[in-house]
Symmetry: C2
Subunit: 341 residues, 2 copies
């Protein structure tokens, strides 16, 4: 659970396609107050609309870290990116990466860090000795975002829900379980990168005992219906011992993404399976709402879909981008009722 040094300078490398800056855009949108600028290589054309600063300038302006704000296929870090990273380290900034390639595998970065005093922070790695899970109930409340599939808005929903809870006057903390989430929160554990025996234990560590009225809003990972990652999802559920889940879904997907032979579950089935799994460590878990990624639907289709799902499931149905998630936050803050099983 690294504690990252903010504020950030976002490195946009040499990308020329806006969607490759997803990580940087997430930082701008969810922790903008912690971002003081952006920098790029001469070949790069993408901007997040932030002030452009060289690493040295950012250091003078009080930045704590240069964060690699782009995701590229395969997660490899090209050597052509090294000069600005070394410059940041030379001037005492940390360099924060969520790439698969470890920063420490580049001797020139290790040397620059030693000279300038900056740290190399690979957010996918954790040096901590993790415990195994206990399943023992902790004080405080927890909500976990879960999904019918990967990559359909679990992080976004958790962040939006944290804001909505704050707006409603509740105590709430976003708990990050993936690389971008960790950069936004400044801390967290990439649960898919820990040794399998310790996933539930890592989730327990991530959402420790808290005030009885405090909500941990835990970023979900994977999906119980995903043939590669369901084990990560189940360990995260058990360790999170959620009082509530929020199910995220994209109605445009007919099958699990990149797995055309695995059908999407029906929403009712997905809710039942998540609650069944979660009851092991929290028998009182309930579903507090549905977060739809409706980017494939026009406004009329969305409204029809929303009301049909709400009627079928008797739950708040939101699109965090379209409607916000206040309805789900209010449901969470209502006195607890058991779902009919």
């Amino acid at each position: 659970m690294p504690i990252l040094r903010k504020p950030y300078l976002i490195f946009l490398a040499d990308i020329t396609v806006g969607s490759d800056a997803k990580t940087g855009a997430g930082l701008r949108d969810w922790c903008g107050v912690d971002v003081i600028g952006e920098c790029r290589l001469p070949q790069g054309t993408v901007s997040l609309g932030l002030p452009t600063l060289r690493p040295q300038e950012a250091a003078s302006a009080g930045a704590g870290s240069l964060v690699i704000g782009v995701a590229v296929v395969g997660g490899q870090l090209p050597r052509t990116w090294l000069p600005p990273l070394a410059e940041a380290l030379e001037h005492g900034l940390d360099v924060v990466s969520g790439m698969h390639t470890r920063l420490t595998s580049f001797p020139e970065l290790v040397a620059a860090a030693a000279r300038g005093g900056g740290q190399l922070v690979d957010v996918r790695a954790t040096d901590r000795v993790l415990p195994t899970g206990t399943g023992i109930k902790r004080a405080g409340k927890r909500v976990l975002t879960v999904g019918t599939d990967c990559a359909l808005g679990k992080k976004y929903t958790a962040l939006a829900l944290t804001r909505a809870l704050h707006a409603a006057g509740a105590l709430a903390t976003f708990r990050a379980t993936g690389q971008t989430g960790i950069m936004i929160a400044g801390e967290g554990i990439a649960v898919d990168a820990v040794v399998a025996d310790f996933v539930a234990g890592a989730a327990e560590l991530l959402s420790p005992a808290n005030d009885p009225d405090h909500w941990d809003v835990i970023e979900g990972q994977g999906a119980l219906f995903h043939p590669a990652y369901a084990g990560v999802t189940l360990g995260l559920i058990h360790g999170s011992q959620p009082d509530a889940i929020v199910l995220c879904h994209d109605p445009s997907r007919q099958t699990i993404e990149d797995f055309a032979h695995i059908p999407m579950p029906a929403l009712r089935v997905a809710i039942d399976r998540y609650l069944e799994a979660a009851r092991l460590t929290n028998p009182d878990v309930r579903c507090a709402g549905i977060a739809i990624n409706s980017s494939s639907l026009g406004e009329g289709d969305w409204l029809a879909y929303q009301s049909s799902v709400a009627e079928e499931l008797s739950l708040p149905v939101c699109d965090p981008m379209r409607t916000g998630v206040d309805a789900i936050a209010h449901r969470l803050l209502q006195p607890m009722r058991r779902q009919p099983e």
Copy 2:
């Protein structure tokens, strides 16, 4: 998936309690033809009834590896054990360990290995680059042992089932997923020690496509009802894509072992949950039988329990130690029928 060098010399260290030699006893019982002797420290009093040989003598007699055949609390390897391990390495034996402490963390062992040519083999570690799971159907048949809890006979049942299938004239291979199983098979992957994202992929690698009539008998790990390890279990299920499961159970347990707050599931519930999970990658999965660890029951109680469970579930109910598992093997070899759901 290390390929271990047999035959083995079993190292029993300084233990004075027979049950601490469980690993060594498993090797003697399940791959006795590959074991040429045992050795111990002067303080050790436990014997497996094998010829006592010094490492040097074992090397002369053709041994390939010294295997640490004891399990101690915490899994730490004491420095007092190093001299015989170094002796083995000096004489060209590999040293094979399932302890948490890595053999390579001892410079004297690394040096002895370099001098003698032996290898240091930590069976919990894998150097292989593992794939993520695909969920794509492979040729050949697979049976996975699963449990209501950990440590109640999944490895033993899988080994017994492999023998029973061979005795029935079927093609079958035991696939090891834990340290003792790997030592017995000479290869395998300790799935609980891989990075969480790769558990299903490791299980796919472990039971590759095979002849249509060949059975992989896959050693289960953990339990879906275990608050620490259920994620490992689910990843192993999805990657194994079993055609059949065998449920292992110990009727003396009222709660998950060491987790007094987590009740044991009913057998019917356990079967349903395992089949539900397994259908993601094999919709035709069925339960082929129940393997009971009945060591807590006298003969009369066992017979009454066996017939009551068999009647309730309409499945073969065996205790591998008491009855063998021929009834389950025969059920596996029957033409496939769908279970009623």
